[in-house]
């Protein structure tokens, strides 16, 4: 009798759990991935893009220094291959013409080459420095190079209001080596599926940085944030990326993203 009741209880609970899972269609991991994938795939087919931006570095005392740069990106629609990108510095003037070419990979280290205009020298560089600061900013190399869907594993946490919108909150953990983060928590809105905010947790698990993505604009169905503010909550340093208008479909090709081109950019 007692045993029967227990078995009955277990059956009922099991059914209830199974039903709940079916209704939800997925585990938190699957749901997290779905939300991230929907967000990542919202710009599929953009082809290529070019944009100019200002990078404003601000230290804890509020002193500012500014860099201007151009970024060209070539989309690789296959999610098992990373995008190609080219970053070209305009200012400060002493580093004008410095360029970084990246062929992003998913789990393997990216291929990266740096062009140093003073010597006209192209250098293959190590990309294992994922967590190092990108040109003195609060953005690490791993924040700056292409965020590829399959570089992370995901977990759905819940939903929260974010500004006027409602966001899904998902946790993502780097699957690649040498990351400076144990996890990132991202807020993805339920209307346009864009990332609004990301918290970065360091190797000790403490909150390190907060990234806010603002001024989203829609280019024929493709959303791009135009202000990215990264605040290091441990040092109070901040870096803003302020983007100009994106140009899509500029007709860039593979040959625009080869190392032999780095000395011919200007």
């Amino acid at each position: 009798m007692k045993l029967k009741t227990t078995i009955g209880m277990i059956l009922i609970v099991s059914f209830a759990l199974a039903f709940a899972a079916t209704a939800d269609a997925s585990t938190p991991e699957e749901k997290g991935f779905e939300i991230a994938a929907r967000s990542d795939r919202s710009d599929i087919g953009f082809g290529d893009s070019e944009v100019e931006l200002q990078m404003i570095l601000r230290n804890a005392a509020g002193q500012e220094s500014t860099r201007t740069l151009k970024i060209a990106t070539l989309e690789k629609p296959d999610e098992s291959v990373g995008d190609k990108s080219l970053v070209l510095f305009d200012t400060p003037r002493d580093i004008e013409g410095t360029a970084l070419l990246s062929h992003a990979k998913i789990l393997d280290p990216d291929d990266q080459w740096l062009f140093l205009p003073a010597l006209k020298r192209v250098k293959r560089i190590s990309s294992s420095n994922k967590s190092g600061p990108f040109v003195g900013s609060e953005f690490a190399f791993e924040d700056f190079t292409a965020i590829e869907l399959n570089k992370f594993s995901y977990r759905y946490i819940g939903e929260e209001p974010c500004g006027d919108l409602v966001c899904d909150v998902i946790e993502r953990s780097p699957r690649y080596e040498n990351s400076g983060y144990t996890k990132q928590v991202s807020w993805v809105d339920q209307a346009d599926f864009q990332i609004r905010k990301v918290e970065f947790y360091d190797r000790r698990g403490d909150l390190l940085k907060v990234l806010e993505l603002k001024d989203y604009r829609n280019y024929d169905g493709i959303w791009r944030a135009h202000v990215l503010s990264m605040t290091n909550v441990q040092t109070n340093k901040q870096t803003d990326l302020v983007y100009g208008d994106y140009r899509f479909g500029a007709g860039l090709s593979e040959n625009d993203f080869v190392k032999g081109r780095l000395s011919r950019l200007r």
Binding site: D94, R121, S128, G260, R266
Partner: protein, 401 residues
Amino acid sequence: MSIRTAQFAALALLVASSAAVSDDVAWDWSSNVEVQSRLFARNALWPGQGSQTAQVSLAATTELRWRNGDGDQRASIIPYLRRDSVDDERNLVDLQEAYWAREGDSFELLAGVNTVFWGVTESVHLVDIINQTDAAGDIDGEDKLGQPMVNLAWQQDWGLISAYVLPYFRERNYPGIDGRLRTPIPVDTDRPVYESSSEQNHVDVALRYSHYIGNVDIGLSVFSGTSREPRLVPANDAPVLLPHYDLIDQFGVDLQYTRDAWLWKFEAIARNGYSETFTAAVGGFEYTLYQVGESAADLGLLLEYQYDGRSELEPFTTADNDVFIGARFALNDAQDTSVLAGVAWDTGTGETFFNVEAERRIGDSITLELRARAFSGAGPQDLTYAVVRDDYVQIQLAKYF
């Protein structure tokens, strides 16, 4: 005067070519001026060098770049001017770039003056051969003179082929009799001797293939023409050395293997020179410790071995049997502060060269660079005895516009 003529001609050319194309033409103009002072630790050793221990030079560069509306044509003019307080032979008027280039889908044709770098190693640049060295400018061999060329570059999936026709030869400059950091007997650059009867008009040719396969970057090159390195031969009629420029053929290979924080580098050449065919090679690694001590700074450790099999009849080299050990410290701050320190030690003779280079940006448009160099271990029979009293500190301020 000549520089103004060159600038005017450049401007005229650019204006003329821009008139032929549509709107959306992109112009970019920037300049910098720098003041450099060298403070020598001791009085000079050789006759004629004078007694001053300070040497100041001023240099100016302006860059004018143009790209047409379609983006398939570009041009560049970069004159460089230098004046030295002590040594007239360090004065220089040069065009680092003055070219026009036309791009296609997979090729680019460039005609004019350009500067090109080949190679991967840090302590010596064996493979790099297109441009003449501005040896009066700096002893590290990294300052170059613009080279007139026609260059056709062809990009394929399997790599980049770049062919060069080099119709005019640039002579190497050397410090004059007043200058420091020179040979005991000065080089008379007004009396060069060429193996080719066409002298400076001999047409040199070069071909380079470069590509990467996974973690390996590879470059193969061949050069045929007048050697950028002269033999320095005593003149019969005066106490000077005359530069002798021989015709050479040189094959080069450069390789880099990049894995994790390791860069493994190798360069080798085989040269059919004046007296013989010889080989030279340099190889080693750069290993970087990222974010040392939980700071943002990186510390790179460098080790390279230099071998050179040339005989004493060939142009002299100090990098013949040397170990180079270095450290590169990059703060990764907003001012891009970095320090590079290195020692090159000749395992045969014991001659040692110390080098420290530090740089930092001040504000948005000024850079400060410090260099300290010292020489030790040379006996009177050794090559670097020539500069045994020339240890110096160099402070350089540059303003960018």
